[in-house]
Amino acid sequence: MRFGFMFSEVSQGLRRNIAMVISIILVTFISLTFVGTASLLQLQIGQMKNYWYDKAQVAIYLCTDVSPEATCPRGEASEDVKKEVEERLDSPTLTPFIEEYYFEDHDQAYANFQEQFSGNAVAQYVRAEQLNETYWVNLFDPNQSQIITESFTGLAGVEEVRDQRSYLDQIFNILNIASLAAISIASLMLVSSVLLISTTIRLSAFSRRRELGIMRLVGASNFSIQLPFILEGVVAALIGSLLAAGAVLGLVAFFVQGFLAERLPFTSFVSISDGMLVVPLLIAAGVVLAAVASGLAIRRYLKI
């Protein structure tokens, strides 16, 4: 079938069903925006993991006078405890894993604390001896924090061994849940957009059943009967996915880069080029879904 003829058939169909076409556009737009947001969140999690996991240290907190009795029955960690910890850190079993470690005493901990919580009321009440003396350990491979945890947990005078990544994991969990939520909303919306597309195409086919009957009668091939309808669904979904692509890119440009990145300067955020990775995914998803949905919907009318 010639292109011009096909084009006029498709645009006629789109105009005849304009309200339904608009609803397809909106539903695909919103559902794909959710899909895009979820994918960007995943990319963001990946980036933050790369960035923070490398910086994450393992902290060996030593006992203080105010530590709970159960873990620190002898109160403030003695010099012997520190010697013991350092010996272990320097032992041949551990050195291959440790890039470096350093000791933070009460005063340094206090200084760091004051800096971190400056302006916060808690900074006024805390005293240096309440803060743990800490060995900060940088590992060559942050995934192997287990080794440090196992070697020092339970050692007399050590209050707790903490992999900083466990704090990060909480953040990542929250982000993961957010992206899961976005994905589930997106999939519900996608289901409704598929149903909407097939209903619209059925309607369109119904309003053109005379043409369809004649086309079958004069021997139009199934492909050329189907194509205008499939294109109709695809065009509507394509507009929706282009809008979604625009929304996702806008989100990255104005919200992430424009707003978040300025306020949280030490975090790496997804960039426009990450957004550009998501765009073809959205467009392909929209087009494929629409093609399949309208193809299945028109099938019934092709029975010979």
Binding site: M1, R2, R210, E211, I214, G219, S221, S224, I225, I304
Partner: protein, 229 residues
């Protein structure tokens, strides 16, 4: 050209078959009337020839194609070799006469050049050259059937199937349409026409196949509507 052998066609929910062991041969260039009461099986037989249906048993060969075994995807290409007209014309109300005819060529992928040449030709043939830009609603019934005939023959089919083409027309107009169908037949197209129109059949004195209760009860090479020979 058309060969129907021992065909039986049953429809769901009716105990009596619509066609019962029907056999029929139609040669190239024939003009055949299918007559019989409503429900006698005329339309079922036409549907089988057009491959709108397949029989429960027996074989149907049209233009060298075995329609029983013809795969669905090749049916459209088979139908391009046939022209069909109906009692209700089946024109597209929002397209002009010329567009209606052109539509059937466009959907089978004919070139714009071919369409621009073939459509005025065929409209001249059916006597509607002047009315090419009219809408079907502006035409009389006879003129609408001419448009349908133009559409049916524009692709130069070997066979024209006509299902009561004069059913909605007055006697004078019917005669005009029959004259047109006759001239199409004289140009070499095989015509199979189902009809209730006694006067037309009696007047034309062509081959008559009469069906009753799904069986052929008469096959006369030159006859009238009734049995009075």
């Amino acid at each position: 050209m058309i060969s129907v052998q021992n065909v039986t066609k049953k429809y769901k929910g009716t105990p009596r078959p619509a066609l019962d062991q029907v056999s029929l041969e139609i040669e190239k260039g024939d003009f055949v009337f299918l007559v019989g009461a409503s429900g006698s099986g005329k339309s079922s037989l036409m549907r089988l020839m057009l491959r709108e249906d397949i029989p429960n048993s027996g074989s149907v060969h049209v233009l060298g194609e075995n329609l029983v075994g013809l795969p669905a995807r090749r049916v459209p290409f088979f139908r391009r070799k046939l022209g069909v007209v109906f009692q209700d014309f089946r024109l597209l109300p929002n397209k002009t006469v010329a567009q209606n005819v052109a539509f059937s060529l466009e959907v089978i992928g004919k070139s714009q050049g071919f369409i621009q040449e073939a459509v005025p030709d065929v409209l001249g043939l059916v006597g509607l050259a002047e009315k090419a830009d009219r809408l079907p609603s502006e035409l009389s019934g006879g003129e609408q059937q001419r448009v349908a005939l133009a559409r049916a023959i524009v692709n130069k089919p070997a066979i024209l199937l006509a299902d009561e083409p004069t059913g909605n027309l007055d006697p004078t107009t019917s005669e005009e349409i029959m004259a047109l169908i006759n001239s199409i037949n004289l140009a070499g197209t095989t015509v199979v026409m189902a009809t209730h129109d006694r006067s037309i059949v009696d007047k034309m004195q062509r081959r008559v196949v009469e069906l009753s209760q799904g069986q052929i009860i008469r096959d006369q090479t030159s006859g009238g509507y009734g049995v009075r020979a």
